[in-house]
């Protein structure tokens, strides 16, 4: 009797956990289906394809993780692309024609730079009380300008071992190094953060700021911490750009808006408080797979952009439709 109830209780817990993460699980399943589909339409797609996939999604995946943290806290950061450009050119400039070992110092410096610029964004948003979207939009100009000050045109260099870190495979050829790197980075930074009281606070201020404040959460400091975490991931994204291209580019890529799109597709509510980073990463991979599938199918590659846009709109529309219906029921 006791055993059976506990088992059913455990089953219920699993069921509840599945239901709670239904979106992420759905994304992962869809991602797997897409991989199978890719293999079917392009039988030669194999280990090399996976490795390419890994290194091509790495910068955006890191950006999406950072963006997800800020969005969960109830904010948004429109300067993440500029931050990546800045950290990328700083790292490329510092590593240029330097010994390989020096790159470790550079990586550490750039990570601290990421924390610092994230802190600037967060502090400005908290102190001025200007909406996050406006502050970070303005800061996107500032960081892009700083990137141009550091490096006028694409240039600089990168350590070889950094390049090796983001390309190729580990152990068997089926495990891309970029994927391992991504998992390690997220495991080292996000998972402890998620389980800490700070992580709870980040979810809390995004979910209901007044209730969080009343529960004793230091709202301002927590917001700044979320931006700092994002800055860290932006710096990692910038480093991955430098590593994979071997140079630094002062012009921001499409990472700002694409990271927002990935976060939304990944099940993170723009209102804050809901979702996690894994959904966002899965969404990044799905978007990239769709792009390559369209190429494999010999369809006009520009349609990939259209498909991405339609998916973004469609998914969000369906999501809000479900919510409206649920509210009525």
């Amino acid at each position: 009797m006791g055993a059976s109830t506990s088992r059913s209780g455990g089953g219920a817990a699993i069921l509840a956990a599945v239901r709670r993460n239904a979106w992420t699980i759905g994304l992962v399943v869809f991602m797997a289906l897409l991989l199978v589909f890719t293999k079917i339409i392009q039988p030669s797609y194999g280990a090399a394809g996976l490795q390419g996939l890994g290194s091509s999604v790495l910068p955006l995946a890191l950006a999406a993780v950072g963006q997800a943290i800020v969005v969960i806290s109830g904010g948004i950061d429109l300067s993440i692309g500029s931050m990546m450009a800045l950290t990328s050119v700083v790292s490329a400039t510092m590593m240029n024609e330097q010994p390989e070992e020096f790159a470790i110092v550079v990586v550490i410096c750039v990570l601290f730079l990421g924390l610092a610029i994230g802190a600037v964004n967060g502090t400005l948003a908290v102190v001025t009380r200007v909406p996050d979207i406006v502050v970070t939009l303005a800061m996107s100009f500032v960081w892009a300008g700083c990137a141009l000050l550091v490096l006028k045109t694409p240039g600089g260099g990168s350590a070889k071992w950094l390049l090796n870190l983001v390309t190729g495979s580990l152990g068997t050829e089926w495990i891309p190094r970029a994927a391992v790197l991504l998992i390690v980075v997220v495991a080292i930074i996000w998972i402890p953060l998620r389980r800490s009281r700070l992580g709870l606070s980040i979810y809390a201020i995004g979910s209901n700021r007044l209730a969080a404040f009343r529960s004793g959460v230091p709202v301002g400091r927590t917001r700044i911490a979320a931006y700092m975490a994002m800055g860290l991931f932006a710096a990692l994204g910038g480093l991955s750009l430098t590593a994979s291209t071997g140079i630094g580019t002062p012009v921001p890529g499409p990472y700002t808006l694409m990271s927002v799109a990935a976060v939304v597709l990944g099940g993170v509510s723009l209102a804050g408080g809901r979702g996690g980073v894994f959904g966002a990463v899965a969404a990044v991979i799905i978007l990239q797979l769709i792009r390559s599938d369209i190429t494999f199918l010999n369809i006009n590659p520009n349609l990939a952009v259209v498909v991405q846009g339609v998916i973004l709109i469609g998914v969000v529309m369906i999501g809000s439709l479900v919510q409206i219906r649920r509210a009525r029921a």
Binding site: A13, A16, R20, R197, L200, S201, Y203, A204, G206, S207, N208, L210, A211, A212, F213, R214, S215, G216, V217, P218, G273, R274, A329
Partner: protein, 522 residues
């Protein structure tokens, strides 16, 4: 009987707070002895909420000192206040909707075992800690919030209207648990509008009026009158009578009702509501909080669709899909919450003229002169103070409420639905609103008026219906609708039975703490 500072658990003296030119508090004080349950009382706008915010560290006072256990301190944040031993529980639970209960407990560093104990004491022994706060019913959340506060065993527990809209059986348990804290070394600050609760568990009461502590009363039998006297002040005697009866001729029962509801139901809140509202009549609606009156007004205003039943306007069945449909049928709605009704950053004129341009064919050129005539007439009728008319948010609460009514008066009223229109406004404005409602009725309009102030029924209404548990349980003519009668009816009492038991036995009230699964099934 005087106590020295060291005997007091919490003492706040000379607290003042000014917002711009508005003085919210100027000489507030509060002294809490160990082991007492202390009521903090005051009419709306007396500065109670500002005082609460200062005590809990949400805002800082301009002047004044706060001493807790003999140590002087002013909390700079709610977190700091918690750590120094003052834990508040509010009407809206401060649980994070997207975290489960366990995470919510971690967030406030609440130990789990004492929490479970208190949750059990409060009647919530089957709580699943991994359920999301979002999925739990409001009443459970409040109980959880209270249990969470009790688990910390704070020096001072502050309950801010936390029993409002709690079902009677839970209220009883809460009061019982709170009452048990009397006589120990810890204290409770209890804020409530319900005099019965104050009388049953409080030792003393501090009364605020216009930002000032005007008295501290020992709560004994008969203290209610003294408290009410202090809250109202000397200047305001009983309200002047409002002329009634002008619309009496139109109230003959053979007239087609302006609005008729037949067995309206909605979800779990409204089961069977029927009534008729005739032209020239003010029909009062009386109910304790959360008896389905919110849903009823939402349906009538077109914000929500009924689950069943029929609605007739001037004898013809109607179905509203949007508030615009209700407005077209002549049903206009004045919500209680002014934040729901007003464009706070816009002018008085734009606020009043808003319905004029709502429909697509009025999107074009604004006929300025015609609009001015209508708006000015409405401003005149309601005597709105237009000195700060550039932005409605700079008006006083009473003037804001007048603007929400003027919006409909300007276009001509056939049927007005007023949901507690005098909540939180000063007595003079209240009286003006009573007069206006009577004038509208005299001119042939029909008014449905929900009020939480029972004495308004006799002042303004021709008759009243009483809703309890989603059903109309009584219809009372104004002449018989004195406060005791209405209150008994509101609790669905028959004969001379004591108030709480019957209410607790009512089906439905027990389901408020139902497990999550049942909630999701809906």
């Amino acid at each position: 009987m005087t106590l020295t500072t060291t005997d007091l658990l919490l003492e706040a003296t000379g607290i003042s707070k000014t917002y711009g030119a508005v003085v919210a508090l100027h000489a507030a004080s509060l002294a809490i002895r160990p082991g007492e349950v202390h009521a903090l009382m005051g009419a709306n706008g007396a500065g109670k909420s500002t005082f609460v915010k200062i005590l809990t560290g949400a805002i800082r006072p301009d002047t004044g000192t706060i001493t807790l256990r003999g140590r002087q301190r002013i909390a700079h944040s709610p977190g700091e206040a918690r750590h120094s031993g003052l834990v508040p529980v509010y009407q809206e639970p401060s649980l994070i909707p997207d975290l489960d209960i366990r995470a919510n407990l971690r967030l406030t560093e609440t130990p789990i075992e004492p929490f479970r104990h208190w949750a059990g004491e409060l009647g919530l022994d089957t709580l699943d800690l991994s359920s999301m706060a979002r999925q739990l019913p409001l009443a459970s959340l409040r109980i959880i919030d209270l249990a969470r506060a009790l688990a910390i065993d704070p020096d001072v527990l502050m309950l801010d209207e936390m029993t409002a809209a709690l079902p009677a059986n839970l209220t009883e348990r809460v009061l019982e648990v709170i009452g048990r804290r009397r006589g120990g070394s810890k204290s409770v600050i209890f804020i409530s509008h319900r005099m019965i609760e104050i009388a049953s568990i409080c030792d003393r009461a501090t009364v605020l009026r216009e930002g000032e502590t005007v008295g501290v009363v020992d709560v004994t039998a008969g203290a209610e009158d003294q408290i009410v006297q202090l809250m109202l002040g000397q200047a305001i005697s009983d309200m002047p009578a409002v002329g009634k009866g002008a619309g009496a001729g139109a109230r003959a029962s053979d007239v087609t009702p302006r609005l008729a509801a037949r067995s309206l139901s909605a979800r779990t809140k409204l089961h069977d509501v029927s009534f008729e509202l005739r032209p020239g009549e003010v029909l009062g609606v009386v109910a304790l909080e959360g008896q389905g009156q919110d849903e009823l007004f939402d349906i009538l205003a077109g914000s929500e669709r009924p689950g069943g039943g029929e609605l007739l306007v001037d004898g013809a069945a109607v179905s509203f899909r949007h508030p615009a449909d209700a407005i077209r049928a002549g049903l206009v709605y004045v919500p209680a919450d002014r934040a729901q009704a007003l464009l706070m950053q816009r002018s008085v004129r734009e606020n009043i003229a808003l319905p004029f341009t709502a429909r697509m064919r009025t999107w074009g050129l604004i006929r300025t002169r015609a609009e001015h005539v209508k708006v000015d007439a409405a401003i005149e009728t309601l005597q709105i103070d237009t000195r700060a008319q550039g932005e409605v948010r700079r008006l006083s609460g009473g003037n804001q409420q007048k603007v929400t009514i003027a919006r409909w008066v300007a276009g001509g009223v056939k049927t007005m639905l007023c949901f507690d229109p005098t909540r939180g406004i000063d007595i003079r404005t209240k009286h003006q609103i009573y007069l206006l409602v009577r004038d509208l009725a005299a001119a042939g309009a029909a008014v449905l008026l929900y009020t939480s102030e029972l004495k308004e029924v006799q002042l303004v209404c021709d008759r009243a219906i009483v809703i309890f548990g989603g059903r109309v349980v009584a219809e009372i003519a104004a002449a018989d609708a004195d406060e005791p009668t209405l209150l008994r009816a509101a609790y669905n009492l028959k004969g001379d039975a004591a108030i709480p038991q019957l209410a607790a036995a009512e089906p439905g009230s027990g389901s408020v703490v139902a497990p999550v699964a049942q909630q999701e099934a809906n």
